[in-house]
């Protein structure tokens, strides 16, 4: 890992088009960063991305998925419309 020391309002540039600036260093240790980068980059807090990846993996449904879904729904009174592929 490359380690650089920066003070408030000092920046780091990554490549041509990414600029990260330290905006504020709070006494409690929290650091506020300003990030300028093209919109094509997905910029997220690491723990948020990790939680989305974990939740996505959990969301993969198995062969029992239909019965799990049916268990979730109240019983349907009559024959139903709106299903696709029939």
């Amino acid at each position: 890992m490359l380690i650089l020391s920066r003070r408030r309002l000092e920046s780091i540039r990554i490549g041509e088009d990414i600029l990260i600036t330290v905006l504020e260093v709070e006494p409690g240790g929290q650091v506020r960063l300003g990030i300028e980068a093209p919109r094509t980059y997905r910029i997220l807090r690491e723990e948020l991305l990790a939680s989305v990846v974990a939740e996505n993996r959990q969301a993969v449904a198995g062969a029992d998925a239909v019965s799990r879904l049916s268990a979730l729904l109240p019983p349907v009174a009559d024959d139903t419309k709106g299903t696709t592929g029939s």
Binding site: L49, V52, E55, V60, L72, T83
Partner: protein, 154 residues
């Protein structure tokens, strides 16, 4: 060669829940970036029960199957604040031209069945281009438990 043209308007898709089905090509959804953490980009939406729950079935791998919810159909109005550039990336003029789905975790414990409102899947209504986006809005939970809904639609 009209027969050849007709053959190209549908394709056969192996699904986990309905076996092999014939799907019109224009019903196939193409992700501009695959769902986060996955590599499958082509999906089709299926439904087995009426209501706001659907299946997002990977076209090229039957084992990539998600249950998804249309939150607005479910009576939720989660104020997603979808940025305009997300719509533009999917060929849509604005968020009104997008269908919104959220991934559902069908937990073994129905009380823990939940959906991810923070990272919805956006689909261009006419372009059928899709992307999973992680929204800025911090009020949106990654785990929204469906039993907390009081809409009566689930």
């Amino acid at each position: 060669m009209t027969t050849a043209v007709q053959e190209l308007t549908t394709m056969r898709v192996q699904t986990l829940i309905k076996g092999e089905i014939e799907v019109p090509l224009d019903a196939i959804i193409t992700f501009v970036e695959p769902p986060i953490g996955f590599s499958t980009t082509r999906f089709v939406i299926l439904q087995t029960t009426p209501g706001p729950l659907y299946w997002l079935q990977g076209v090229d791998d039957p084992h990539v199957l998600f249950c998804v919810m249309a939150p607005f159909e479910a009576g939720l109005d989660p104020d997603l604040e979808i940025p305009g550039e997300c719509a533009h990336e999917l060929g849509a003029a604005d968020a009104h031209e997008l269908d919104v789905f959220t991934l559902v975790v069908l937990d073994q414990d129905p009380q823990k069945t939940r959906t991810n409102l923070r990272a919805p899947i956006l689909v261009g209504k006419t372009t059928r281009l899709a992307k999973q986006v992680v929204l800025e809005a911090q009020h949106l939970p990654v785990q929204f438990f469906l039993h907390s809904m009081k809409t009566g639609k689930l």
